[in-house]
């Protein structure tokens, strides 16, 4: 029995498992045996055990217990054990684990081993999973091996150096001289590694990049050798001499020539030669050509060379290989901004790729087509893109719709074309457009005043035809609500006349409201549109009132709240309905003519934000009503609820009012409320300040009789839990005719926050007659007018 049969036997057994559970059982048993083997002394079987463990690891089972075995096998003198040990280290260890530290010394020793195959194992492992510490320790060894006698070791040491530089960038200087000399090598593997190493050095350090610019002639010479001769047939791939090496050199040349005129000049001829002479009938040649194009586009190349590069990409678009078409469009996408005209020449081919069967190619073609849209080609490009929209894969519809919207917004030749295009998209792919499309379109429509009639007609017809496209339905409802009167006129120059009746429109909106396909937001749009129509029509207002009333008990709270508000508008504030529901103001600052405003007696200020979403505007209507209500309340001098006003003669009251004005009282921060008025004597209470538990009020007494009042005093009583403090009054004489007043400040502390009540006794002398009265104040005015005092005379 040969040793490797054990691994194969285990694999055979594992593969014979019929269920996942059975496989797990077999593997657990095998792992137990592997562990036992690892614990035994050297019996020649350890390498086989580790090989079995690596297979188990590949299947996804835990294999970390083999890490120390890797460390031991690496230190073994036997090549077979070293080999599998190093492989295990690369697969099971990682630089973050302590075990990787243990192999640093082994790697160091093996880097000096007499056998190049052992050296190779160490180099490979270091390049694969060497940590920063390992790289620092072993960098001098690698630098030494860059000058080894065999190409086999040199090429591996070179890539190892790349890894070290990536891990410890400050070690780059150590490898720079060797990298330069490696360019003199003939072996392609070493050359390839040298180019990769120099690329890494240049990408990390601008100074190093500058130094290696001097190597451009050498690289050009190497490249020309590859392009013109076939002296190394073993590297020939489909007629191309070592395309891998060519691609690497071209990439390095790109980095060296970037933003550098002299370096770019040095490689111009070479690039032209490669671009002209390389056969692109196979993938290998296309790879070289493609890299050449990328290099031409990225360095300071001549314009003729750039056109040649773009034309190569254009030819790639016609290639049968979809991979080549794909990468070609990827590149054209990158350069479309800088070489727009050159790419435009291939617009037809690019648009044709929209019909490609490959989704990846379609996606690239879409991105590129959208990038190529311009004011000149907007109409034809949009036609193509709209055709694409109706047939493209589902995952591309959203991107296509957004792209069309953006392009139409930037380049639209006319507003009507713009509206038509967007309506087309909403009709075709309404379900795939993004949410901001609806407010954007509404904003666009409001600014096109001359097209309101046209737009509302088109939208109405689209709505009647199909109510499943939510975005379209929302925009249509909004327009019908705003411009329903234009719809009912039936006069529109651009569309053949179709008479629409009020009932037709309301039928359509009611269909949206009741359809199970309507989203809640869509129903909201429809309800608001219905309400707006109540001021745009003449005959069916009752029907609208009925519709709105039904939704006052809708299960959707948003819709219910809206309906309740609209019902209130009908019942209590009908006189304001026309104003509240008039047309929306224009949504742009510099809107011309305020056309919408002309339809009403008032011209409103335009909204400050141009692109304000429409939804908040719709929602703000109820808020406007609330503000109006508050204004109504604020405009009256009497409380809403009727109260038992104190009885007094009309003459006296009227006289008191006039005298108050004559008195010229200073304005108070909060209006005072009269709590007592009798026999020409009035008492007002004013709230000065208020916190959670404290309130400071001022009592103001005035005298509107013919005689002065003397001996005026106030007494107050409050509930037990409230503490009362009365400051000294300003006096005890109130001059006649309202010319004087007595004020007294009262501080109330209410720690328990009980309902505040205060009983005030008024005492005074009027021409020698003592008078006394008591009034109870059950609530106090506050600055926000949240509560109203109720007054009772005891």
């Amino acid at each position: 029995m040969t040793p490797s049969v054990r691994l194969q036997e285990m694999i055979r057994v594992i593969r014979s498992a019929r269920t996942q559970g059975e496989e797990r059982g077999i593997i657990q048993k095998e792992c137990a045996e592997i562990r036992a083997q690892f614990r035994q002394t050297d019996n020649g079987e350890r390498s086989h055990s580790l090989a079995k463990l690596l297979y188990v690891h590949m299947l996804g089972y835990p294999a970390h217990f083999g890490q120390m075995e890797c460390v031991r096998l690496i230190a073994s003198p036997r090549y077979s054990e070293k080999r599998i040990g190093y492989l295990g280290a690369m697969m099971l260890l990682d630089e973050k684990q302590d075990a990787s530290l243990l192999i640093t010394n082994s790697i160091k020793n093996d880097l000096s081993h007499s056998s190049q195959y052992v050296q190779s194992l160490a180099l490979c492992t270091l390049a694969c999973m060497g940590s920063s510490e390992m790289c620092r320790d072993l960098a001098p060894e690698i630098e030494r091996l860059l000058r080894a006698s065999t190409s086999y070791i040199k090429k591996k040491a070179t890539l190892c150096a790349v890894h070290i530089i990536r891990k410890v960038p400050e070690l780059a200087e150590l490898f720079t001289p060797s990298a330069r000399s490696l360019l003199s090598e003939k072996n392609h593997g070493v050359l390839h590694g040298a180019v990769v190493l120099i690329t890494e050095l240049c990408e990390r350090n601008a100074e190093t990049l500058d130094k290696f610019r001097k190597a451009v002639p050498e690289l050009v010479t190497i490249m020309k050798g590859l392009v013109t001769s076939s002296y190394s047939p073993e590297h020939n791939v489909a007629g191309i001499s070592d395309p891998f090496l060519q691609v690497r050199i071209l990439r390095l040349l790109r980095i060296l020539g970037h933003n550098n005129d002299s370096a770019s000049d040095a490689m111009n001829d070479l690039l032209a030669q490669v671009a002209t002479n390389t056969d692109s009938s196979k993938t290998a040649g296309s790879a070289v050509l493609y890299e050449t194009v990328l290099t031409i586009m990225d360095i300071n190349s001549e314009s003729g060379l750039r056109v040649l590069a773009v034309n190569i990409l254009g030819r790639f678009l016609l290639n049968n290989d979809r991979n080549i078409r794909y990468i070609s469009m990827t590149s054209l996408q990158k350069i479309v901004q800088t070489d727009h005209n050159a790419v435009q020449r291939h617009r037809g081919t690019i648009v044709d790729c929209l019909k490609d069967q490959d989704t990846s190619v379609k996606r690239r073609a879409l991105e590129l087509s959208l990038a190529l849209v311009s004011p000149v080609n907007i109409r034809s490009m949009m036609k193509e893109l709209l055709i694409f929209l109706s047939s493209c894969p589902v995952e591309l519809r959203s991107q296509t719709a957004s792209g069309i919207f953006n392009a139409a917004e930037r380049y639209s030749p006319s507003k009507r074309w713009h509206i038509d295009t967007i309506l087309h998209v909403l009709t075709t792919a309404g379900g795939d457009v993004r949410d901001e499309t609806v407010p954007n379109l509404i904003q666009l429509i409001t600014t096109a005043s001359e097209l309101h009639c046209y737009t509302v007609h088109k939208l109405y017809r689209a709505l009647v035809k199909d109510i499943s496209q939510q975005s379209l339905v929302q925009v249509a409802c909004w327009c019908i609500g705003e411009y329903g009167d234009l719809l009912l006129k039936g006069e529109c120059e651009e569309i053949e006349p179709v008479q629409v009746t009020e009932d037709d429109v309301l039928d359509a909106l009611e269909t949206v409201l009741q359809s199970h396909m309507s989203a809640p937001a869509t129903r909201g749009f429809a309800l608001t549109a219905t309400m707006k129509l109540s001021t745009r029509i003449t005959d069916n207002v009752d029907r609208i009132r009925s519709i709105v009333s039904i939704y006052g008990s809708c299960i959707d709270l948003e819709l219910q709240q809206r309906a309740v508000e609209y019902n209130a508008l009908f019942k209590k504030y009908d006189h304001m309905r026309a104003a509240v529901l008039e047309r929306m103001p224009l949504m742009e600052k510099n809107s011309p003519g305020h056309t919408n405003g002309d339809s009403s007696g008032e011209i409103k200020e335009p909204e400050p934000a141009k692109t304000k979403p429409v939804e908040p505007i719709l929602l703000s209507e109820p808020a406007n009503q609330v503000c109006d209500l508050l204004d109504l309340l604020g405009g009256t001098d009497t409380p809403v609820q009727p109260s038992s006003a104190p009885t007094s003669t009309a003459t006296t009251t009227s006289s008191a009012d006039l005298l108050d004005l004559l008195g010229g009282l200073e304005p108070t921060p909060v209006p005072a409320v009269t709590v007592y008025e009798k026999n020409g004597v009035s008492l007002k209470i004013q709230c000065d300040s208020q916190t959670d538990t404290d309130i400071t009020v001022t009592l103001i007494a005035s005298n509107s009789t013919q005689n002065d009042i003397s001996n005026f005093t106030l007494q107050a009583a409050v509930p037990k839990s409230v503490q009362l403090q009365m400051k000294a009054p300003s006096g005890n004489v109130i001059a006649a005719h309202g010319l004087g007043q007595v004020t007294q400040t009262v501080l109330l502390n209410n720690p328990n926050k009980v309902s505040l009540k205060m009983r005030v006794r008024v005492s005074y002398s009027d021409q020698g007659t003592m008078l006394q009265d008591t009034v109870q104040i059950d609530s106090f005015p506050s600055p926000s007018w949240n509560s109203q005092p109720s007054i009772g005379v005891l």
């Binding site: 180099l123 490979c124 086999y152 790349v162 590694g193 290998a284 790879a287 979809r322 990846s360």
Partner: protein, 192 residues
């Protein structure tokens, strides 16, 4: 840089896994499953490039793959690699396997997993392309295999020698035994 090389069959069973950047074991298996789902649902008439899945790094990386009979060969690479170049490299790798195993098939990858890794190490090292010449790769692999075999022969000898020594009854050998007697005994032990 090549971040990972994955070979799995049409059912997603891994046949070779090689990560050149560290991922925990669980994550590795998830990446394999994710990559399999991304690749397996693509028709054979679409291009061989697609964006990497979110687990392996997302759109910064590309999956470049070829589908042969029952196996997918997938390279996950970053932007420094040439897409068409990697496609050709996969071809070189597959042709090399074909040469080493003589008409390679999935079973060869299953039962000779370690050999496949050794071959791959001569093509890609540390996530970087090392050698693209198939003949050079095959030659190096054969030399290494030969070295391992020859060393295997040598390593067997000491074991046998130890066994032979253990079977000698040294204390019982008379002091005055002549050399001729010893020589006669040694050949008789060779059957062990």
């Amino acid at each position: 840089m090549i971040k990972a090389i994955l070979i799995f069959n049409n059912h997603g069973k891994p046949r070779l896994i090689r990560f050149y950047q560290y991922f925990a074991e669980d994550m590795q298996q998830q990446i394999i499953r994710e990559t399999f789902h991304l690749v397996s649902k693509r028709d054979d008439n679409v291009c061989n490039f697609l964006e990497g899945g979110s687990l392996i790094g997302g759109s910064d990386y590309k999956l470049i793959y070829r589908h042969y009979a029952t196996l997918y060969f997938v390279f996950c690479v970053d932007s420094s690699e040439s897409e068409l170049g990697i496609l050709d490299l996969i071809q070189v790798f597959v042709e090399t396997l074909d040469k080493c195993f003589e008409n390679v098939c999935e079973l060869d990858l299953i039962f000779h997993m370690d050999k496949v890794h050794y071959i791959l190490q001569e093509v890609v090292m540390g996530g970087m392309v090392l050698e693209t010449n198939m003949n050079e790769i095959v030659a190096q692999v054969e030399l290494q295999n030969r070295m391992e075999k020859s060393e295997g022969g040598l390593s067997a000898a000491p074991a046998r020698a130890v066994s032979a020594v253990k079977n000698m009854n040294l204390p019982e050998i008379p002091r005055n035994i002549n050399i001729g007697d010893i020589n006669i005994k040694v050949p008789s032990l060779s059957p062990f």
